[in-house]
């Protein structure tokens, strides 16, 4: 470990260059296309037009509805999954000793089972129970990966949680609710917000479930993106992609300035993403 190496400056800059090109480069064509009128092969720069963006914001397009649907679904999904996941995670992390691992395996399995297998099976199930094509059905289907994910994150917190804080506060005269509000919630905050954000993102980027269960009645942003994909309108695709990554962008910025503790820094780091 050469903490004070002489050539730090150079390799540091090099590292920067690599990381920037690795992680930002792919967004350049997306952004450029969103402002393109025509962009044929050898041209490095497109003829500029704001047509795609005008369409995105026009009152006739479905984009606005899709954004609202996606936002609404994602918000309700992320809140509901906390409501269901919180008690389960707490029980598993603090109280349930016997069968703990088996129960966790059952609860966490939907994270690692591919969406396509779940979506097809659940679609048939919902067809039979009349939940398909319903807002409720789509919501439930989004909860299928979101709840296990939240349990997974929150369980991680409770497995390392010192319940002494709660005991101490009960003895200082706090009731159950007061203990929750004054002690548990503030300690849980960073993990909880991570769980809220990521279950939001799970729902936000969900395509298969929405398309199968919703059957097209409920149009969300990913559905628009896929149908634009087949229409070959790259400009609109670029604009929709930019709209689509916006929450992700906000979250990352929020996480790197807003929260005192880095969202990804601790143990939770290994518990983020790939479902999204």
């Amino acid at each position: 470990m050469r903490r004070n190496g002489v050539n730090h400056g150079k390799s540091y800059a090099f590292l920067h260059a690599i990381m920037i090109s690795l992680f930002f480069l792919p967004f350049i064509p997306l952004l450029a296309w969103s402002f393109a009128q025509q962009w044929r092969f050898p041209d490095l720069v497109p003829t500029v037009s704001e047509r795609a963006w005008l369409y995105v914001f026009s009152t006739h397009s479905q984009v606005k509805d899709a954004i609202f649907n996606s936002l609404g679904l994602a918000a309700v999904t992320s809140l509901l999954s906390q409501v269901v996941a919180y008690p389960a995670a707490r029980a598993l992390g603090l109280y349930v000793k016997r069968w703990n691992k088996t129960i966790r395996l059952l609860l966490i399995a939907p994270i690692l089972i591919p969406g396509i297998s779940i979506a097809i099976g659940v679609h048939v199930l919902f067809l039979h129970s009349g939940l398909s094509d319903q807002w409720l059905g789509v919501l439930l289907s989004h909860l299928i990966p979101a709840i296990p994910y939240s349990i997974y994150l929150l369980y991680g917190f409770y497995a390392g949680y010192d319940i002494g804080y709660e005991k101490q506060f009960r003895l200082l005269g706090a009731g159950r609710l007061q203990t929750f509000r004054l002690v548990e919630l503030p300690l849980l905050r960073s993990v909880l917000s991570l769980s809220i954000l990521f279950s939001f993102l799970i729902s936000w980027s969900q395509y298969l479930f929405t398309v199968f269960i919703g059957g097209g009645n409920l149009i969300t942003l990913p559905m628009l993106l896929f149908s634009t994909l087949s229409s070959g309108d790259y400009s609109l695709m670029g604009a929709l992609c930019m709209v689509f990554v916006l929450p992700a962008l906000i979250i990352v910025i929020f996480s790197s300035i807003g929260v005192k503790k880095d969202l990804f820094e601790e143990k939770e780091a290994s518990r983020v993403d790939p479902i999204v």
Binding site: H60, H128, G215, S231, D233
Partner: protein
């Protein structure tokens, strides 16, 4: 603490819920049918009154933003302002998805309040639904604007050889055309049948490809080849016979496999959609694209999806043209409103706007010009005069128009192509 019992209880509850979930929901009620019958026998005004305030879920292929925009903007606002109907367009990447959905609902016994109100449909998808008894109707001739349509013309009254019997109402017409770039190629160099196309492709390796079936135009490209190699469309207007089909189809597979090494990417893969093909053409990766728009390609040129010098043309051996329709599923929740939409889109003025590349997307009209009178007639003549070099002359198109194959051939060709061309090493 004793957890064992609680765990057992939990697992038991889960099992129960599983069984309940698996068994529930087979209730079927046939009340929807009665309401539909009333709609068919009642007057149009009654239908209009019932439709008011309803939302129509129109499932349609969403692969063209020009179409999407026209539907949302034009139909959407007229429906809202004039009839109080909200149009909800549901984009699909394949119409089969909507067909699937209706069949799924029928299987699950959801016989009313279905989610699909209207489908943009034709060919084998219509055949599938009609044969499954999953369509509402006959409603087409009940529409006031049906007076502009000539259902006695077999090209309109029959869809892929199957009698529509009023279970679908016409919307427009289309015909397959090739698109080339007049800057890259002189008209004299163009191939005019599949035989010439093959030798052209072999002379220009990597410069030709077609979008993969089951994408609509891709299938159509293969069907035309099938006609040419089997000696014409006349002998195929009868019901599907496997042996006869197989005997002739072999030639198609041979042709396509022989031309494969000369195709773009050596035929290892194909563009998935007609839009992808257009993008390849636009980037000068291939020299041909396809279009279906009778009114020409001006719309796509205007959007920058095709070069300004792109021109359409047809093979001397002819290309397949047909009508496309809208149909209402038997369990549609908003049949009245769906009928209003089906009627509205037949309105001559809107038909002409749709056919105008500047306003619509150059789709062929679905109504019969000879049935038009007065102002409408005049508008039609104006439209006819408009078409420039970005469109093939209407009489040329008509002269080279071939009927489509009966519906049963489509899956056979698509399956055959997948197994014997695509996956063939």
């Amino acid at each position: 603490m004793r957890k064992k019992r609680s765990v057992k209880v939990i697992l038991f509850l889960c099992l129960v819920s599983l069984i309940i979930a698996a068994c529930s929901g087979k209730d079927s009620a046939d009340k929807g049918k009665a309401a539909g019958d009333a709609l068919l026998s009642g007057s149009w005004d009654q239908a209009l009154a019932e439709a008011k305030g309803q939302t129509v879920n129109w499932y349609m292929w969403g692969g063209s933003d020009a179409i999407n925009e026209f539907v949302d903007r034009k139909y959407g606002s007229v429906l809202k302002d004039k009839y109080g109907i909200t149009l909800h367009r549901v984009p699909l990447s394949d119409t089969a998805e909507a067909v699937n959905k209706v069949l799924n609902e029928k299987q699950a016994g959801k016989n009313k309040d279905g989610s699909v109100d209207l489908i943009w449909i034709n060919g084998e998808n219509f055949a599938t639904l009609k044969q499954a008894d999953a369509l509402f109707g006959p409603f087409a001739t009940k529409l006031p604007n049906a007076k502009y349509v000539d259902y006695s013309n077999p090209a309109v009254g029959k869809d892929f050889g199957l009698d529509t019997e009023g279970y679908e109402s016409v919307w427009g017409s289309a015909q397959f055309q090739f698109v080339y770039d007049s800057e890259r190629m002189k008209p004299s160099e163009l191939p005019h049948n599949y035989k010439e196309l093959k030798s052209w492709a072999e002379k220009h390796p990597g410069r030709f490809t077609y979008n993969a079936p089951p994408d609509f135009t891709g299938t159509r490209f293969v069907k035309q080849l099938f006609y040419e190699l089997s000696g014409g469309h006349q002998k195929w207007s009868k019901p599907f016979v496997q042996q006869e089909f197989d005997a002739e189809a072999t030639k198609v597979w041979d042709y396509l496999n022989e031309v494969k090494p000369s195709l773009w990417r050596k035929g290892e893969t194909y563009p998935k959609t007609i839009a992808e093909l257009a993008a390849l053409f636009n980037n000068n990766e291939v020299d041909f694209a396809f279009t279906q728009d009778i009114g020409g390609i001006a719309t796509d040129i205007g959007k920058g999806k095709l070069p300004k010098t792109a021109r359409p043309y047809v093979f001397d051996t002819g290309t397949i043209g047909d009508y496309h329709y809208v149909a209402i599923p038997y369990n549609a929740a908003h049949k009245a409103a769906a009928m209003v939409v089906a009627n509205l889109i037949l309105d001559p003025k809107l038909q002409f706007e749709k056919a105008d590349p500047a306003k619509g997307w150059g789709d062929g009209i679905g109504i019969d010009p000879s049935k038009l009178e007065g102002a409408n007639k005049k508008l039609y003549n104006e439209l006819k005069a408009k078409s420039g070099e970005t469109a093939v002359q209407a009489d040329v198109l008509l002269k080279h128009k071939l009927p489509d194959l009966p519906a049963a051939y489509t899956p056979a060709l698509e399956e055959g192509w997948k197994n014997l061309v695509l996956f063939q090493k």
